[in-house]
Symmetry: C3
Subunit: 669 residues, 3 copies
């Protein structure tokens, strides 16, 4: 079953209105509603006093119009009475200042009092709704995040994980600057008032911060699993860009990954939307459990708190929803139903206007609802098939946040740039963890694996040995898992498989670049910036050399035949021409079939259900685009069509095809 | 009587020097001196020990040279002994940090201890000088301002104003994010550590902050009114640009509005002075009580604390003083007499240099003193006559500071841009409060009336109905007085009079704009930026349409005939060409006569005394300008002239004319 | 003896490695090693428990390879047990927040507990190594710095220095804004929460902050002097750019000045190195005691904590070391031996890589070691002979940091620009304190002597009177030593010798400039910016006039014949053309011989040993350069040469000549 629905806050509106809202939802084709996400103060107005009747009635009204319900546990925003009673339950910022009341997400996930209150409300809700026929599952809390500079909790975590101070002093190298700890209570959190910290301490602190939410989530999951065994449990994550939590860890305990997809930014007003950034968000969320996911908050209008984003253009809301489906979504829930009249999110626009008018956004979603009715069953449960994997390491990401090495060096930006190069060729990509099984892939990209454990290194080496094509990029293998620089030439544990050693490196000033001369003379305009590894091959072949500075002529890009496969090492931050050349080489080495590069804003993606291919043609451009299809194989199941093989996709439009599964991509160009 | 004088700090200088200073003041034509503004530690060196003798002697010396005296109450800067004794009397910043000792304006206006000390010093001064023949009045404190994040005082204010938590929870919509308050002590102030706050809470907090100073001022006024019934009471305000206090409220309790006019900035070094910004400052200050005002601190030299501003050019000090008079000033007091040798304001230059030399600035003011002797009596008490009003809403201003909607959306900038368009045509403007009587005006402009009460909406509708011309601009009528989005189509309570509904809106990225195609094809280059309302007329006529984006062809500017008048609705932030077109249309609809646009830096303004018109020709340019006058009607009373009707106004020069009052402006072009 | 060595941290590495490290050091020609700088937690693992054996063994290994040892006292980074025990020993920032544990330099130098612990560790070390044959001296702490906002310590300092509150109230002019202090405990430190402070208080606070480290250093010196009378005592300073400590005061107590020279920045990534900035660093450090100095940390690789700097180009490490020698260094100690694997400074690269490889940087230094063996004895103890002095006033620098007057006004930038103009002509410059004996110089430059005491003013006047050439620049003589504006026309106490009065001044907006028309019509393109003094000559001759604004034609640059000499007054911040003209004029008036301006990156500098001149030709360019030498007089002692008089200096290369001492510079062009 495909879930199509909306996030709704009945507690914000007069009860008289609920029925009309539910009627309009049904008319839009919705079958699921998320409720109660931030309703703690309505559910437990005073400590220990519960009030569920209003929620019972709301569910009743919705169910009577055919809606199923996902309930949010309301712990992302505690009532004033709770935080006033437990002032030390507030989260602590890097400045050492505690958060104060006034927004949401203000609690410390390690605080015992907060955890006790959490248990009480979650148990009460689970008890109330465990057997409710309309309730199908739970969203825990909302958008976990923020680092909590809670020193005692960090020390407890260290103690559990490492057992002794000797281990920690050795691991962090505290001989440096006399930081040798002789008592657990001496260990600091890396406050901004403490200056640039020890990198080992900082990386462990970032891991602790991530684990604090994983642990807090588990506290809720344990209750819900026990009380409501038939319900699905999810949390709404924040996609690829969110950097503070190891999402592989967070997802491990969930039944279902869902996420909040806001292409038009929240914090800033973005003129342009990068379709590959959205696609990477979906691929990452799918990859967390290698399973279909939901978009729990799909953008339904302009976002905004004090600042309002650019409004979605006509067609974009539907386009983004279809893109999510193309990348593996089995549920789309729009945020939110009606634009709030009160509170911080007054300008986080819903499908209805402030005054309850259903306008063009409602109409667009309602039209899509008709389409979903006809295709939903075919889509649900189908798979995305990828021959290429990208390794996402939160350890590397955390460590490069702590030490960017160069102000222009960004782990997520490099990850995104590599992904974009594949995305423009319509290459499906799985985003996998450093401990993933790589055997199903033809090519693997490991961007900037700055922190690298032996297991991952061995897995990558084995992947190549068995015939795979691997791409490793600059700043790989620099650190062990304690964030200590390795005691061997870089790229450390990957030097062998890459057949190369980093002789020296250079960190470039802002704006500087170094031309890269490729062995393939047909490539023009290749260049590196930000960082230049000066490479000495140890078995590998040089296929790109620096064109300037004192290392002119030295190797920048190499390929190494290793076992039955090949490893590419890219020693610099590549510009577009260099990325194109490197990725083409990787795909060729891996034998990955793919289309030509499209620069016209059209994205082509596919899901498979058995031997049926569902092809999504997504036009992210503001102008109509032409796409060629094989009419013998495919039929149009969504979108206007006239029977010819040259399809016109309208601005921000979608065409969906159904056909035989093999070779699908090559036929649609 | 016209007051012409200077701010003087005898306590900074050896007593031997006082007589020479007073002699030079008299020579400059001064008749009034402000004293004692920051002298608390000299007047009350220890708690309860008063020392007035030195001030008695200073007044004596000044009076002997013909000066009258305005005394400042010294409460803007407390002595160290007071703040050390009452550390909780320090103001609290948005960060939650208290101010520490070292500057001025560091107290909390709601602090009871500070208020007690205030009563004591004000009572002592009032007692001492109530019958002093040289003393004519009081300036209370100095430049009230800053927000005090005093949670208990905010809660007291809420309690007084709203009575019950139920009212507050309903008003702020605390169902959102579980913010329902069940105890007064739970209510926070919107600290920066609390994140983006509830907009209702934030707007009430801003109102409380404004009221805290209004209330503190009243504490002093009550004492002075009772003890010194014959004295005039003022406070030195900070013009149009100062955003933190509702100046209509602050002025209500005063006898006289005065303000501090520093065209060459303080915090930054400004290359250019915008004459219309100065003019708007004067118009706003005159509008607070619809009465002549004083400039209590007129710029006398470069400003500066740690940074020194551009020095006033020769002529500018006199020019700015005349401009103030042209807009309704009946008193000009220069700040300050002699440049301080000590303290934070060492570089806030006075008329004399640090070394007591009277240089070119003194000479310039002294020459003006001669002119004032001949024209002062004619000027004092004369009126500015305006047919156009602009509605200044501090509620809207506060609310748009809380939620700018778009980073480029500025209430004061839009207000200023509209005013500038009128100012360039020599149109006199009254700045009025949302509750003002509008019956005397032909045209009214209500920029961005984001927060709109029923009374104001009805007044504006009534104004149009009775024949007036009204201009409403984007983001009007969005909120009720609780900062809640209205439950009706925008512009809310103004939709009816405007004959238009905002179907949707778009918030534009920085740098983006949308061309506006006007019905009047002669206008070229019109465009909107920042914000675009997409309008659907409901009775109104479309006179401007968007030329781009997905709403190309939709209405951007409309006019509605309503009763005997007309309402224009402008749905975007207009560029210069569009502003010109809109304002011309408004003036035509309202039947407001006006001159052509002058772009040469010459400002023409007028005051009327019975049937005599006093015309001020003010050249803000660094080059001489030509102006034509009707010699039969006017005679030159200030400035060089040769009897022809083509007058040359020197760079930064002033010509003042006297003549018959009717049609005066049309004759001077 | 010339010292050539390296900074080494044996406590970071396995003891098994020490011998190989020492062997490689000897091979590189090293004869000195700095040790133990941050080893407090190894030397005193628990309070009062000392552990010296490891250090004994490390010294033993190094001595066995011929190394002498400088020991660092480890007080720059206290062990966790100490700071946990004494939380009030942390330094306080301008925000009022205390530093927290996590980096180094986190202690308050005035804290009694910290001082007690300091005494104990320093006494223990002195006792242990006083007679060790390999130990030759001590480096106290590391890179003193930071301001400690310790109010009680400030008050104690004030009390000692001024004795009474009456003196302080008078000195600071606390009548301004009622700041009159009636109790010592009322006096604040100028926290950022206190707003722009009283300039007198702020300057005395900056002096106190500087004195706090001078005093703390003396505490250690007193112990070491007494216990180790045969040892040399130094501290590693931070060159000209470091602004927070009066280095003349700090150096006064030392035997030897040493400093840390990192041409490729630390906090930011700099593309270009300015050779004159390095040269000014050396000249300043030499000038502190008018004696040869050491570079205690010479850059050995890319710098970096979280950000890595541009790597030194091949040749640069040696070039910078020779430049240091050319300007008076008698010791070069590279930082550091091996790149650290742990800790905040993982990317502060040493001579060896992380993996212990000796790469190109080691090879470069090793080659230099060979050269040093042959020339070291000739160089050591030789002198730099300068005819020009620049007066460096930390009082002026502190006061202009407090009040920059204009955002573009920078004391160090102006100092540097004047120095650069001399440096490009190969003019040797001594940097001297305001109380220096000037009798040996022909020309003196006193940039922006904003705070000026009577002694310095008299010395400068006397210098001119006796025939010297003096250059005074804008904002000279503005303040007395209490940071009070003088009660006389500017340039105050220098008005007489300069024969000029500042009638007025103008502070220019960013980007604005005013052309300067010089009497010497051959100069083109001269201009001033930032600040313009409008001058009235009182005896002096005008040699430059403003070309714009309302002071067009007024004097900007004057020269005054006074006694047997001349004083130039430059009233603006000069661009390059104006600087060239002013410096040429100054050198001519002073009779200082000099070469032509070189813009090709070649620096020529000289040291003299009796009648032998050692000439250093230093090519800072990335391309080879030609230099002409007099072969009859000079022989090449370092660098390749073919016997001709046209020498080619390779990119980043060095040629060193030896010859007769007189007229040397004129012969090398």
């Amino acid at each position: 079953m495909f879930y199509f629905g909306v996030d709704y806050y009945p507690e914000h509106w007069p009860e008289e209105r609920w029925n009309e809202d539910a009627r309009l939802m049904a008319e839009a084709g919705f079958n699921v509603v998320r409720l109660a996400e931030f309703a703690w103060s309505r559910l437990e107005p005073d400590e220990g006093t519960f009030s569920f009747e209003w929620l019972d009635r709301a569910i009743e009204v919705l169910a009577s119009h055919g809606m199923q319900v996902v309930l949010g546990t309301p712990t992302a925003s505690a009532p004033p009475w709770l935080m006033t009673k437990h002032p030390d339950a507030f989260l602590t910022r890097a400045s050492g200042d505690a958060v104060t009341y006034g927004n949401r997400r203000n609690y410390s996930p390690s605080n015992e009092a907060y955890r006790d209150h959490t248990r009480r409300i979650v148990e009460a809700m689970a008890q109330r709704y465990r057997e409710h026929p309309a309730v199908i599952g739970w969203q825990i809390d909302n958008e976990f995040g923020d680092r909590d500079y809670d020193a005692p909790a960090f020390r407890r975590w260290l103690r559990r994980r490492f057992g002794s101070l000797d281990v920690i002093n050795e691991r962090w190298g505290t001989a440096f600057w006399s930081h040798t700890y002789t008592d657990w209570d001496q260990i600091p959190v890396p406050l901004s008032t403490g200056g640039v910290p020890n990198p080992g301490l900082a990386l462990d602190f970032y891991r602790f911060c991530s684990d604090a939410y994983v642990d807090y989530q588990r506290l809720q999951i344990d209750i819900l699993r026990e009380r409501c065994p038939g319900h699905v449990i999810t949390h709404n994550l924040m996609g690829f860009r969110y950097p503070l939590i190891d999402y592989f860890d967070l997802a491990a305990d969930l039944d279902l990954v869902s996420w909040d997809n806001y292409p038009r930014g929240f914090w800033n007003i973005a003129a342009d939307v990068d379709p590959s950034a959205l696609a990477l968000g979906h691929a990452t969320m799918r990859g967390l459990k290698d399973r279909p996911f939901w978009v729990m908050e799909a953008q339904a209008g302009a976002g905004g708190w004090d600042i309002v984003s650019v409004a979605p253009k006509p067609g974009e809301i539907r386009l983004w929803a279809y893109q999510a489906i193309a990348h593996g979504a089995d549920g789309i829930v729009f945020f939110r139903w009606r634009t709030a009249r009160h509170g911080t999110e007054q300008y986080w626009h819903g499908l209805l206007e402030h005054d309850a008018r259903p306008g063009r956004r409602y109409d667009e979603v309602k039209a899509m609802g008709q389409e979903i009715r006809s295709i939903g069953a075919d889509v649900a449960g189908s798979k995305v098939h990828a021959e290429v994997a990208m390794v996402l390491s939160y350890d590397a990401r955390f460590a490069l946040e702590i030490q960017p090495n160069n102000p222009g060096f960004s782990y997520p930006d490099q990850f995104q740039a590599l992904y974009r190069t594949l995305h423009r060729r319509g290459v499906a990509v799985d985003v996998v963890s450093p401990s993933a099984d790589l055997s199903a892939y033809r090519a693997v990209i490991a961007p900037a694996l700055y922190v690298l454990g032996e297991g991952t290194a061995a897995a990558l080496e084995g992947f190549v040995e068995r015939g795979g094509a691997l791409l490793v990029t600059a700043r790989a293998g620099v650190k062990d898992e304690g964030n200590v620089v390795v005691d061997r030439p870089l790229p450390g544990l990957l030097a062998n498989v890459c057949g190369v050693v980093v002789e020296e490196y250079d960190s470039l000033p802002a704006g500087a670049s170094n031309p890269i001369v490729l062995a393939d003379a047909s490539v023009r305009g290749a260049a590196g910036s930000v960082w230049c590894d000066i490479l000495t091959p140890h078995g590998g072949d040089v296929i790109g050399r620096y064109g300037g500075d004192h290392y002119e002529g030295r190797a920048a890009l190499t390929v190494n035949a290793f076992g039955a496969g090949h490893a590419l090492y890219l020693g610099t931050v590549a510009n577009g021409a260099l990325l194109d050349a490197v990725i083409e080489r990787l795909l060729t080495l891996g034998g990955v079939e793919h289309g030509p590069r499209r620069d016209d804003g059209v994205e082509i993606a596919m899901r498979r259900q058995g031997d049926t291919a569902l092809v999504f043609v997504l036009n992210h451009a503001a102008e109509a685009r032409m796409v060629h299809i094989d009419r013998d194989r495919y039929r149009v199941i969504v979108g206007d069509h006239d029977g010819t093989s040259e399809l016109t996709v309208p601005p921000f439009g979608v065409i969906m095809l159904s056909g035989r599964a093999d070779d699908a991509r090559a036929e649609t160009t």
